[in-house]
């Protein structure tokens, strides 16, 4: 029901109008669970052309998803002691590997070899070394999770959603790629189930798909850290006293300083950097 009173308050007239409306069947007999429905709301009716002609204001209620996102983000910022550490990674080795094996990988697994699987694998590699980054706070306790459920932020028409790769440590590169592709598609259609969006012990946000060069991602509570990866761009870097061109990606790790110290956070990010710059480490687990 839409309130027409001040600040959207529901008035007597709104209730009378609602009561007069024929009861809509989906509310009574839809087989779709309630949470699913919230995700299926149509995008808000904003007409930009109309908005720019004259100077009208348009008031559109937040969708349930948007309200939940807003609530969680504010909660995150007001409870955690969030700070962000940065590093940069030379993506040339990963790109080289993709170029070399793309065709065979696709033939073998039926999916393209993207970058996200590398980021997920590198994150898992680092999480195993620094388990506190995979932990969460519960009251006065730190809960170390014996599993790695990695949230992968995906854009959808209704806003950002973060579906979870369950037990990501048991997944192959191909499985990760397939799962993320599937998430992306179903997010577009608003068909992600609530059970796929809850839980998670660590998150990865790839702002690079939109062209972001650097950002400070915000933690998804009760998780304690989130990795931000960005657009890979050619940059002038110095190697052995020489200025060379390298495809660089800036990494950001936002972490909850209440349980993760700066030392661990920085070493965690360095570990990711090293794994990406030398993917052989992922196999050798070093």
């Amino acid at each position: 029901m839409q309130g027409t009173g001040r600040d959207g308050r529901v008035t007597k007239g709104d209730v009378l109008a609602q009561a007069a409306r024929p009861s809509s069947p989906p509310a009574a007999s839809s087989p779709v669970p309630a949470q699913r429905q919230a995700l299926q709301q149509p995008p808000p009716p904003i007409d930009v052309d109309e908005l720019l002609s004259g100077r009208p204001e348009q008031r559109v209620p937040m969708s349930r998803l948007r309200q939940r996102v807003a609530e969680r983000l504010v909660q995150s910022q007001s409870t955690a002691a969030i700070l962000t550490t940065f590093n940069e990674v030379n993506m040339a080795p990963v790109m080289e590997m993709r170029k070399r094996y793309q065709e065979r990988f696709e033939k073998e697994h039926g999916t393209r070899l993207g970058f996200m699987s590398f980021f997920v694998k590198a994150a898992l590699h680092a999480l195993k070394r620094y388990p506190v980054v995979n932990a969460s706070i519960d009251g006065a306790d730190i809960v170390y999770h014996g599993y790695f459920d990695i949230g992968v932020a995906v854009g959808s028409p209704r806003g950002l959603v973060v579906p979870i790769l369950r037990d990501a440590n048991r997944m192959s590169f191909a499985e990760i790629e397939k799962k993320i592709g599937d998430f992306g598609k179903r997010a577009q259609d608003g068909k992600l189930g609530i059970e796929e969006l809850t839980g998670g012990t660590f998150s990865i946000s790839n702002g690079g798909v939109f062209g972001s060069m650097l950002s400070t991602p915000i933690i998804n509570p009760p998780q304690s850290a989130i990795l931000g990866v960005h657009a890979t761009k050619e940059r002038a870097v110095v190697e052995a006293g020489q200025i060379v061109v390298r495809p660089m990606n800036y990494l950001a790790l936002s972490y909850d300083h209440r349980i993760i110290d700066g030392r661990e956070a920085v070493l965690f990010l360095v570990s990711i950097k090293e794994a990406l710059e030398d993917p052989a480490r992922l196999i050798l687990e070093i």
Binding site: T4, R6, R9, T11, K12, G13, L16
Partner: protein, 471 residues
């Protein structure tokens, strides 16, 4: 050259409130005001505080008290003989209230660090910042708020000298009570000032060009007011007249006019009040220097957020469209200051109360019954008289009623109209209700103190559903 975030031209209720709100929000603010008291001192507050709302209320209260002693106290068993009034004291009291109030604004300016530039303000040129002439200096402003107000409209052929022929300014300062007072214009100002001098002993005749009395008010209220003013109080009001001329006579003035039946008539009086509306103050504002657009009547053109077509130039109060009410200007001042500070100020023009401080008072908010009829809106009405209210009776103020108009389907309150003692105070409840989109049932279900005049509001709300409990 001094530079400010905001320069406000005019320190009437719209301008001074805008200046204070902008200063509260951390902006550097100057306010230009050219008003001078009769003694030649610069003063803040504009028409409202100096020669409008406030001094007229002071004289209305004094004259009303005099009338009470003479006529109304008898019913309480109180009689007094030899009751006199001293006009000088009455006027001095009025002046001291004005001085207190305008001095108060000067204090508020100091407290909020608003610079008061004494003299005439005028736009000189634009660009990334606006240049203004303020008295004898030039100042620079990132944002300009024009709040130059309005002045009394005068009639051709009847020059106002504020001695014999007066507008609101002179009519608040007669040095003696005129034996016969003529008032042209039966609007708010004419009725209020006519009331003051009638109570103090003048024989008052009001001439009104329009055929309907209080056309802006709800018809039932206007009819009730007509009955009380003309029959009970003996105010002589003639409608539908056209003034043809005025001439000075040995004893005073002679007004020539055509009656509603087009017969030519004359009317002699000692003094005349011309209260035929007000016109915006946009002369010598420098509008032409910067390309500021005025409409045919001289009002500055603005959108609903009081933005002019020029960037960062706003106009508020009587100088723009909408009712010439101090509180409407104040709210626009707050809105504009907040918009300049990056906030989202707004004014709900559908919930602005109107008040006429006659006795009994007239107050309303929202749509009148005739408006709803002409718009074809289905509505229900509930009306309750003060005569059934214990507090009104014990106060010996049984006149008038409150009427609530609500949407027939949603029950949302569309208008509230009242004539009666303290109507100006009672209307606030209706304004709050309308601001929150309340239904008449909402008011009907709210506990009202007993005995109080406010119970009439609740009974009127119950009346919308034909279930008043006490009538």
């Amino acid at each position: 050259m001094k530079s400010f975030d905001v320069v406000v031209i005019g320190a009437g209720p719209a301008g001074y409130i805008a200046a204070i709100r902008a200063a509260q929000l951390g902006l550097s603010v100057a306010c230009v005001e050219q008003w001078k008291t009769p003694k030649g001192e610069y003063a803040l507050g504009g028409t409202c505080l100096n020669v409008g709302c406030i001094p007229s209320k002071a004289l209305l209260e004094s004259s009303e008290n005099y009338e009470r002693v003479q006529h109304r106290f008898k019913a309480h068993g109180i009689t007094a003989s030899g009751v006199k009034f001293d006009l000088k004291t009455m006027l001095a009291r009025k002046d001291s209230i004005v001085a207190k109030m305008t001095g108060g604004i000067a204090g508020l300016f100091k407290k909020n660090k608003v610079a008061w530039l004494q003299g005439h303000g005028k736009l000189l040129s634009g660009g990334t910042t606006w240049k203004l002439q303020a008295a004898d200096e030039q100042v620079e402003a990132k944002n300009v708020i024009i709040a130059t107000g309005s002045k009394a409209r005068h009639l051709p052929g009847i020059p106002v000298d504020n001695k014999r022929v007066c507008d609101n300014e002179g009519a608040l300062a007669f040095d003696s009570v005129p034996e016969r007072l003529g008032v042209i214009g039966a609007g708010v100002i004419g009725l209020e000032l006519g009331s003051v001098w009638r109570r103090l002993g003048s024989q008052v005749k009001v001439l009104e060009a329009l055929p309907a009395f209080l056309g802006a008010a709800d018809e039932t209220v206007a009819n009730e007011a007509w009955k009380i003013f003309t029959k009970t109080q003996g105010l002589d009001i003639e409608l539908g007249v056209s003034i043809t001329g005025a001439s000075e006579t040995k004893k005073g003035l002679s007004i020539q006019y055509n009656g509603s039946d087009m017969s030519s008539k004359t009317f002699d009086c000692d003094r005349l009040v011309v209260s035929v509306g007000r016109v915006p103050n946009t002369e010598d504002l420098g509008a032409e220097n910067v390309g500021l657009r005025l409409d045919a009547k001289g009002f500055i053109e603005v959108d609903k957020n009081c933005r002019t077509a020029l960037p960062r130039v706003y106009a508020i109060g009587d100088v723009v469209r909408g009712p010439m009410l101090a509180h409407k200007g104040e709210d626009e001042g707050v809105m504009v200051a907040e918009i300049i500070a990056g906030q989202h100020g707004h004014v709900n023009y559908d919930a602005i109360p109107w008040v006429i401080y006659t006795a009994p008072e007239i107050a309303w908010v929202g749509k009148t019954e005739q408006q709803l009829k002409s718009e074809g809106v289905a509505y229900k009405a509930g009306r309750f008289p003060f005569a059934y209210n214990g507090r009104a009776l014990s106060r010996e103020e049984p006149e008038g009623f409150i009427k609530i108009l609500a949407d027939a389907a949603s029950d949302r309150i569309l208008g509230v109209h009242s004539i009666g003692s303290l109507a100006s105070e009672l209307i606030s409840e209706a304004v709050v209700a309308m601001e929150f989109g309340a239904s008449s049932e909402d008011i009907a279900r709210i506990c009202h103190a007993h005995p109080s005049m406010s119970e009439v509001m609740r009974e009127a709300a119950l009346g919308v559903d034909k279930r008043s409990l006490n009538g």
